[in-house]
């Protein structure tokens, strides 16, 4: 069985910043736990490395400020040893987490980053309209991606 991992991060109490969580929660009922492991968190944490090292594929989902609201894209991720960023905090970037998996467990799963441009990062729950539409589109996209990845493996 292919092990897929979805790590959605951001602050669900900061409106569009929580889009990853909403993507994760709407995919949760669609797949069994043995197919897709879902982790939601405010940040990418070093402790996630064990789950990453056990996965064949990982999707990271986060909101971004550098995209137009409602725009989204998927890009492949590579392990990044950007050491300067983490000397004083306990959180990492997805690339750093992959690097960590590679160094500690000798395996870095194939991974993609899905970034969704946010408009409203004020205190509160719920998405702005454009991001809501993007959220639905990303769910549909991920549903297809995950189904494809799991069926390839079965053959």
């Amino acid at each position: 069985m292919t092990r897929l991992l979805l790590i959605a991060y951001g602050n669900p109490l900061r409106r569009d910043d929580g889009v990853g969580w909403l993507v994760a929660e709407s995919l949760r009922p669609e797949f069994s736990d043995s197919t897709l492991t879902i982790i939601t968190s405010c940040q990418v944490l070093p402790e996630m490395v064990t789950a990453v090292s056990e996965a064949a594929y990982v999707f990271f989902v986060d909101a971004g400020m550098n995209l137009l609201p409602g725009d989204w894209h998927e890009e492949p991720l590579v392990p990044v040893l950007d050491a300067t960023a983490s000397s004083m905090t306990h959180h990492l970037t997805p690339g750093q987490l992959l690097a960590m998996s590679w160094i500690l467990y000798g395996t870095a799963p194939t991974a993609w980053m899905i970034t969704i441009g946010g408009a409203d990062f004020a205190l509160g729950e719920g998405l702005s309209p454009a991001v809501q539409r993007a959220c639905e589109a990303v769910c549909q996209h991920l549903h297809g991606r995950i189904t494809a990845l799991t069926s390839v493996q079965i053959r």
Partner: protein, 474 residues
């Protein structure tokens, strides 16, 4: 050369916000140095008028790092208000929670915050001196750090259903028993954790010879040590006697009455910090300086009470006590305590009555005053409440683990600065050491500045060239 003030702001890789200032005289020698805690809270004040049963959850909000310690200590103070005997199984479950918190906290302090210095050296390239540097140079240790932290977090989550602010510990006990399934999940993790804890000790202990200078100058001075001890002078984090020993290991107070702590300890307010400085009253301020936390606990006890940790403690005790007064040994002590924590959790889980369902004693308040004491990862934590006849909090006072170490931290900064700063010559390695001495104590500043008090103000204007152009004090 004129007078010069060096400011390290913020101090990195600690929990909370702080600043260090070092004053140089005209010859470039260190004239004085201080550790400033720059954040400000107000918990004692806003608990007034609240029903006492809210206190454990309310006080847990002091800190997102060690909420469990406040939860447990507050519940112990509330037990005193109820004046009941907490069911033995509830006591054991609370102990497991306390130890799990300690393991994950020590793992964070050692592996995430301090290991970069310890593994790569104080003078290593700052770009390498971080968690990635550790992973590359010792992956086994990094795996252990991650897994030990996870272990502690998972136990807290399994017991309290929440990782950060569990409401499971309540006055009189806990509000749900442990299930067989959860016990098995916890037990399954133990062997791996023991192996990791042992591996860390095997690796770290010999490497300490590299740090002779740091051992010499990292808050290396005689102080008393304060901590809880179990029967037979064993390591204890939840129950037991509050013991104070002097720098030579001689008993000062075998068992301080929790209700007389205000006779034993005073709290001095320093102008330069929001953090109060407790001291042992009979010796006065500042001679009544003492330390708490992992090093203090190990320097007080004779035994741990678990087989592997007892061996580790025996090895630790081969270092002469006068050398073991260096705060550098907090790191070593933390590793011994991690091993102890894992072993003790195993013992408690194996207890035949750990699944008992009677886990809460029910009562109305029977006493107007309650003091609860427990050992937080960082040291002795005390909550003291007074209620009216209906159970509303009239007054609360907290003495926080990190606060107990405030005098020693402040003095330690001065000692380290004097030792490493020669003729005003500064480099990154020297500055890193001044921070590292604070990190040995693993201070949690969010917690320790919980109280309302005087707001000291200390602003220093330092030009790019290092000239103090202005300074305001209040």
């Amino acid at each position: 050369m004129t007078n010069k003030v060096i400011s390290i702001d913020p101090v990195t890789r600690i929990e909370g916000h702080a600043r260090i200032t070092i004053q140089l005289d005209s010859k470039g020698q260190v004239a004085d140095a201080h550790f400033h805690v720059t954040q400000y809270r107000g918990f004692e004040k806003f608990s007034e008028g609240r029903p006492f049963r809210e206190m454990p959850s309310l006080m847990a909000r002091i800190c997102g790092i060690c909420p469990v310690s406040h939860l447990v200590t507050s519940a112990k103070a509330c037990d005193e208000l109820l004046a009941v005997r907490v069911p033995p199984t509830a006591v054991k479950l609370r102990k497991i929670l306390t130890l799990a918190q300690m393991v994950q906290s020590h793992a964070l302090s050692f592996f995430y915050l301090s290991a970069p210095d310890l593994l790569l050296g104080m003078d290593a390239d700052p770009a390498k001196r971080n968690i990635f540097g550790i992973m590359e140079s010792n992956p086994e240790m990094a795996r252990g750090g991650v897994r030990l932290r996870q272990f502690g977090q998972q136990i807290i989550e399994l017991l309290g259903d929440k990782r950060i602010h569990p409401a499971w510990v309540v006055p009189g006990g806990v509000n749900a028993p442990l299930t067989a399934e959860k016990r098995e999940q916890m037990q399954a993790m133990i062997p791996e954790m023991k192996a990791f804890a042992l591996h860390m000790l095997e690796w770290f202990v010999p490497t300490q010879t590299r740090f002779a200078e740091e051992i010499l100058a990292f808050a290396n001075f005689p102080t008393m040590y304060l901590g809880l001890v179990g029967p037979g002078n064993t390591l204890e984090h939840y129950d037991g006697d509050l013991r104070l020993v002097d720098a030579k290991g001689k008993m000062v107070e075998a068992a301080i009455d929790p209700y007389s702590y205000q006779d034993a300890f005073g709290e001095a307010v320093e102008e330069h910090s929001y953090l109060k400085s407790p001291f042992y009253r009979p010796l006065g301020y500042p001679d009544g300086i003492y330390r708490v936390g992992p090093l203090a606990r190990l320097n007080i006890v004779d035994r741990c009470g678990t087989p592997l940790a007892d061996e580790a403690l025996a090895q630790f005790k081969q270092i002469p006590l006068e050398e073991r007064q260096s705060s550098f040994y907090y790191h070593y002590a933390r590793l011994v305590e991690i091993l102890y924590g894992v072993e003790r959790i195993e013992q408690l889980l194996d207890d035949s009555r750990i699944l008992d369902t009677h886990v809460q004693a029910l009562a109305s308040p029977n006493a107007f005053e309650g003091v609860g004491i427990a050992e937080a990862p960082r040291g002795t934590l005390l909550h003291h409440y007074k209620i009216d006849e209906n159970g509303l909090i009239q007054w609360a006072n907290l003495i926080i683990a990190t606060g107990n170490n405030n005098l020693a931290m402040d003095k330690g900064v001065l000692q380290t600065a004097r030792h490493f700063i020669k003729k005003g010559k500064l480099d990154d390695g020297v500055l890193n050491r001044v921070e590292a001495v604070i990190r040995t104590f693993d201070p949690c500043l969010s917690c320790s500045t919980h109280a309302v008090g005087q707001m000291p103000l200390h602003i220093q204007l330092v030009s790019a060239a290092g000239e103090v152009t202005d300074e305001i004090k209040r």
